[in-house]
C-alpha cells in the first residue's frame, strides 16, 4: 500500500493539469522573445553571414538532446533504486521527445555544415556520437513498444538506459578528445563563456524556450502515458473471469 501513496499519480495528474497552462504561456513568450532576438537583434557573423542564425536552433536542440537522456538516466535510477512508478512513466515519455531534439540537432547541424564545411555530413567524433545517441533513443523506443508488461519493460529499459549513458560524456568531450571539424564548447565550460554577449543572450533565451518546451512536452506525454496505462488496466480487468462472476 505504501507504493500507492508514494507514487500518487493522481496527485501528479491534478498538479500537472494546473501547471500546464502557465508553462505553455511561458514557453510561447520565451519563443517569441528568443526568435525575435535571434533574427533581428543578434548581428550576422562577419564570416558566416546570416547562416549563423541556425545556431540559435542548433545549439539548444543539441543541449536538450543530451539533457533529455540525462533525465532518462535519472528516471532509470528512480525505477531501479526506488521503484517509483512515476519514474517509469517519465523515462518512457522522455524517449520520443529526446529523439526529436536529437534529430533537430542533426538536421540543423547538417544544414549548417553545408555552407560551413562544404558537406552535409562528415564522420567525425562529435557528429557520430550524436548519431549514436539518436540510435539509442530509437532502440529504447522500440524496446518500450515491444513489451506488454510495462513493469518489466520499465526495469529492462532502465538498465539499458544506464548502460548507454556513457555516450553522453563522449558527446560532450568528443571535441576535446579528438580533432574534429566541430567547434569546442564556448558557453558551457569551466572557465566561463567565451562568446560575445550579443550572441550569448539570444542563445540563452532560446535555450530557456527549448527547455520549457521540453518540460511541456514531457509533462503532457507523462499524463498521456498514465491515462493510457489506466485504460489498459481496465481492459485487463475486463478479461478477468473472477470479476465477471459478480458482473
Amino acid at each position: 500500500m505504501q507504493i500507492i501513496e508514494l507514487a500518487n499519480p493522481t496527485r501528479f495528474l491534478s498538479i500537472s493539469a494546473r501547471l500546464m497552462p502557465v508553462l505553455v504561456g511561458a514557453t510561447a513568450v520565451c519563443f517569441v522573445v528568443g526568435l525575435y532576438m535571434a533574427f533581428f537583434v543578434a548581428p550576422p557573423d562577419y564570416q558566416q553571414g546570416e547562416t549563423v542564425r541556425i545556431m540559435f536552433l542548433h545549439v539548444p536542440s543539441a543541449w536538450l538532446a543530451m539533457f533529455c537522456y540525462t533525465i532518462m538516466a535519472l528516471s532509470a535510477l528512480g525505477t531501479l533504486v526506488w521503484k517509483h512508478p512515476l519514474a517509469d512513466v517519465s523515462a518512457k515519455a522522455a524517449a520520443p521527445i529526446g529523439a526529436v531534439f536529437t534529430f533537430l540537432a542533426l538536421a540543423t547541424g547538417s544544414l549548417w555544415g553545408k555552407p560551413m564545411w562544404g558537406t552535409w555530413w562528415v564522420w567525425d567524433a562529435r557528429l557520430t556520437s550524436v548519431l549514436v545517441l539518436f540510435l539509442m533513443y530509437l532502440g529504447l523506443i522500440a524496446l518500450w513498444r515491444s513489451f506488454d508488461d510495462q513493469i518489466a519493460a520499465g526495469r529492462l529499459c532502465a538498465k539499458l538506459t544506464l548502460v548507454g549513458f556513457i555516450n553522453i560524456p563522449i558527446i560532450k568531450f568528443s571535441v576535446d578528445w579528438w580533432n574534429t571539424l566541430h567547434q569546442p564548447a564556448s558557453v558551457v565550460r569551466l572557465d566561463g563563456p567565451t562568446i560575445h554577449s550579443s550572441i550569448l543572450w539570444p542563445l540563452l533565451v532560446m535555450a530557456l524556450a527549448f527547455s520549457l518546451l521540453f518540460l511541456v512536452l514531457h509533462l503532457a506525454a507523462m499524463r498521456t502515458e498514465i491515462l493510457r496505462r489506466r485504460v489498459d488496466r481496465l481492459r485487463r480487468l475486463a478479461a478477468d473471469d473472477r470479476l465477471q462472476q459478480g458482473a
Partner: protein, 215 residues
C-alpha cells in the same frame, strides 16, 4: 529438519495484485496442496517461494539448520515447462540436471527406470510424447536429494498408471522427511496434509497497484 514458513505473503504480476495475506507453514514430512481457480495465483505462489518472483509484501522463512539457507538452495521446482532439450537424449538431459542440482540422488538411468522410461532413455527427448516428457521431468526430482519439492500441476498430461507412480514417488519423499507443495486443481494421487485455497486470498477487487488508486 526443514520448515518453510510464509506470513502475509502478497504477490503482484505485471503491476496487478494477484493475492495478498497468504500465511503458510509446512514442516518436514508434510504435503501442502494449493488450490484455486484459474489465475488465482497458484503458479505465482510457487515461483515466489523458490525465488523466481519477489514478494510484493510479507516474508518467507526457511529453517534448515543453516541460517543462510534460501529455499532455492534446497528445492526442486517442477514448472509448467519440463526443462528438457529436445536435441539431447533423455538420459543426457537428466545427467545435466544432476550436475546442476548436485549428484546426491539416483543416477540418471536409475531415475528414468523408476518412472518407467528406461526404454526411451537413449532417444532424443523430441521423440517423447507429452506424458513421457512429463515423466522425464518428474525423474529429475530423483537425481538430486533436495528436501523441498515445489510441484506445479505435476499430473498434467499423465495417464492413470503414471499418476499413481507419481503418488508413490511423493509418498516416498514425504516418508524420507521431505516437504512438498503442490499447486493443482485436480485431485492428487497422494495424501495431503493441508490445503490452501488461494481464491480466498484473492486481491479483493484487482485494483491496479501504483498508478490508479482512484480507479
Amino acid at each position: 529438519m526443514p520448515t518453510l514458513t510464509a506470513s502475509g505473503l502478497a504477490c503482484q504480476r505485471g503491476g496487478y495484485p494477484v493475492f495478498s495475506g497468504v500465511d503458510l507453514e509446512i514442516a518436514t514430512g508434510q504435503t501442502l496442496q494449493v488450490t484455486g481457480r484459474n489465475g488465482s495465483g497458484k503458479s505465482s505462489l510457487l515461483r515466489l517461494l523458490c525465488g523466481l518472483l519477489e514478494p510484493a509484501g510479507g516474508t518467507i522463512r526457511f529453517d534448515a539448520g543453516d541460517p543462510e539457507a534460501r529455499v532455492a538452495d534446497h528445492c526442486h521446482y517442477l514448472g509448467h515447462e519440463n526443462g528438457l532439450k529436445p536435441q539431447l537424449t533423455t538420459v543426457d538431459n537428466l545427467d545435466f540436471w544432476r550436475k546442476v542440482y548436485g549428484p546426491t540422488g539416483k543416477a540418471a538411468r536409475e531415475a528414468l527406470s523408476v518412472v518407467g522410461l528406461d526404454r526411451v532413455a537413449d532417444l532424443p527427448t523430441a521423440y517423447l510424447s507429452a506424458g513421457q516428457k512429463r515423466r522425464a521431468a518428474i525423474a529429475r526430482l530423483l537425481v538430486s536429494n533436495r528436501s523441498t519439492w515445489l510441484l506445479d500441476e505435476p499430473t498434467a498430461a499423465l495417464d492413470r498408471p503414471s499418476e499413481s507412480l507419481l503418488g508413490e514417488i511423493v509418498d516416498a519423499h514425504t516418508r524420507a522427511g521431505g516437504l512438498t507443495i503442490v499447486a493443482t486443481h485436480l485431485t492428487l494421487p497422494f495424501a495431503v496434509t493441508a490445503t490452501l485455497d488461494l481464491t480466498a486470498h484473492h486481491a479483493s477487487a484487482r485494483v491496479p497497484a501504483g498508478l490508479g488508486a482512484d480507479q
